[in-house]
């Protein structure tokens, strides 16, 4: 029988020993215990490290990795080599720019009649649909307003869908579109563009709903998705959640190269066609990304001046007929430009055009930042955690086998020191590449099977290589050795 006092003393001694081991651990015991790390502990340690990295986003590292990888992927791989041109052949943009204003001697802002003139000229070439990327919010007095109302009627008569955009951040009571225009029944769409660190990399799936009187309740698709759903009924739009991850094409439309040129900093002119070889592109993408960016947009631009003068240019019908045409502006000081990963600053109308281009090219299954499977939507971070589990299990298993072999080998001097050194270094290198390939394989599987974008699985690759490095230096083993030692564990055969 032990008394309460004796029990108390024993507990206190036990605690003191723990504190002593915490402060002055026995190195030999720890090293011996670390050799006996259990498989589950290795997995838990790696999982915890991965969770901190992915879920908690320390120092913004997670986000930065994702977005940097997305940009590099767009510039190096998907943009120039993998992204199809189905969307490019189906989307174009008629853009009013400063040169058009100067040539036509029509200062900004244009009257509604002038816009009606452009829309009428577009209609002549039978577009699939036209999206007006100007906000007609202000009720400014303009006697030509009926001309635009008449033009909307002409579109209806011709059976060509005409879309307007509604203001989204307006004071209470302000109409998203002039009531006279909204009363025609023209569709009003939400033009919101999400920017991430000032760069357009994603696109909203849902947007505000508008009726003729203003903002309506309920959920509507965003601009590009609404247009896609209406104009491409042959492609069933998958139920989308989260956001679209934009893939930016880099090869400018061949029509653009015919009439748009680029002036270099030294004053020389060059074509819009970007002739950068794969090796040079690879080098520049990492060391001088702006040099790989092409200021010419991916989607075709309709020359507005030629359009308005009724030119017989045979390219104009090609650029409009059976295409969805975005009608927008690129005007100095109008603040409607957005930075893109592959072109630098572009008129924002091209962001909508690119989103629609993605939807057409991927046939209604764009790349996303979420996984939707079996009716459930999993956000990006949990999806990445799930993706890294098999990597952890496999890496930990191989690590355990390596440890076992090492234990069995210890004490037996089979080979020379040089051989052992070379062997260890080789294993290190192969080990890192193995982790890299394993994660890359899983990432690609996610991309192909469930449409998770590069940005949202690339961190799995980075973290996997980090985990491999952790295993090489024996972090889980050392941690186990220390914790087990502190808890009072004793090695069977301390080294």
């Amino acid at each position: 029988m032990t008394t309460a006092a004796e029990t108390g003393i024993r507990r206190r001694d036990h605690l003191l020993r723990i504190i002593q081991r915490v402060r002055r651990p026995d190195r030999a015991q720890m090293e011996a215990l670390s050799q006996r790390v259990p498989y589950w502990f290795v997995c838990v340690t790696l999982f915890a490290f991965a969770a901190i990295q992915i879920m908690l986003n320390p120092f913004g590292f997670s986000d930065l990795t994702q977005r940097y990888a997305q940009d590099i992927s767009n510039l190096l791989v998907t943009g120039p080599y993998l992204y199809g041109d189905a969307g490019q052949k189906a989307v174009s943009a008629a853009v009013i720019d400063e040169e058009a204003l100067q040539t036509l001697q029509m200062p900004w802002p244009w009257s509604y009649g002038a816009h009606a003139r452009v829309l009428d000229a577009l209609l002549e070439y039978h577009p699939k649909a036209v999206v007006v990327d100007f906000l007609f919010v202000d009720t400014r007095p303009d006697p030509t307003l009926p001309q635009l109302v008449d033009e909307i009627a002409r579109y209806k008569k011709a059976g060509v869908p005409l879309y307007f955009e509604g203001g989204t951040h307006l004071p209470y009571g302000e109409y998203p579109l002039r009531p006279e225009l909204a009363a025609t029944g023209a569709r009003i769409l939400d033009p919101t563009i999400p920017v991430y660190d000032g760069i357009a990399r994603q696109y909203n799936v849902n947007g505000k709903c508008f009726d003729t009187r203003g903002v309506a309740k309920g959920a509507c698709y965003s601009l590009a998705l609404e247009v896609f759903q209406d104009t491409y009924p042959q492609y069933k739009l998958e139920p989308l959640n989260g956001m679209m991850e934009l893939v930016w094409g880099t090869r400018t439309d061949p029509h653009n190269a015919k009439w748009i040129s680029v002036t270099n900093e030294d004053g020389t002119k060059r074509s819009c066609n970007s002739d950068i070889g794969p090796l040079r592109r690879f080098y520049l993408a990492f060391f001088d990304p702006s040099a790989v960016q092409n200021p010419c947009p991916y989607n075709a631009q309709v020359p507005v001046v030629s359009l308005m003068e009724g030119s017989d240019d045979k390219d104009i019908p090609d650029l409009i007929k059976n295409r969805v045409v975005f009608y927008g502006g690129s005007l100095e000081g109008a603040q409607d430009k957005t930075y893109t990963p592959v072109n630098g600053l572009l008129p924002s109308v091209y962001v909508h055009a690119m989103a629609l281009d993605n939807l057409i090219t991927f046939r209604g299954k764009p790349e996303q930042n979420v996984i939707t499977a079996f009716g459930h939507t999993i956000p990006s971070n949990p999806a990445q955690m799930m993706a890294i589990i098999p990597v952890i299990l496999i890496l930990a298993l191989i690590h355990m086998r390596r440890m076992r072999r090492k234990r069995a080998r210890s004490g037996i001097q089979e080979h020379g020191v040089t051989f052992e050194y070379v062997l260890d270094k080789t294993i290190e290198t192969v080990w890192h590449y193995f982790a890299f390939a394993l994660a890359l394989g899983i990432g690609l599987l996610l991309a192909l099977a469930v449409g998770l974008s590069t940005a949202n699985w690339v961190e799995v690759v980075f973290v996997s290589v980090e985990l491999a490095a952790m295993l090489l230096v024996g972090v889980p083993d050392s941690l186990w050795g220390y914790l087990h030692h502190v808890a009072g564990g004793v090695a069977d055969d301390p080294a």
Partner: protein, 135 residues
Amino acid sequence: MYHHGIAVAIAAFLVLSGVSASASEETCASATGDVAMQARTPEVDLFNDAAGTQKAMTLEAAKFPSCTPITGRSPNMMLQVQMNGAKYWVPPHMVKYRFAGKLPAVCRNLALGSNQEKAGATRGLGEGCPKAGAH
């Protein structure tokens, strides 16, 4: 047989002359100078001013007279045509027209760096617009 041959020849002549007249009408070969040959869009808007603020009328394509002389052109590309003694302005995309001269090529140049910088200012819009409700 002989009469039959003459009838065929006459018919062929009539058909060919009809086609020729039609082609001549389409190209307005006999007209000199700048000319609006025919309507291009289903409806043609005619304006009283070059800016296109006052619409005079809208004509159906069939009612737009062929080979209408173009008497002027404004910087915004609107064409001045003379119809029934009156002068109107018509948007050029609405008619098929022929110019004696050559139209300048439309080109665009992007200065490198313009895709890296944006104006840190807001464009002043509508300074000249009268205030709503003011007369």
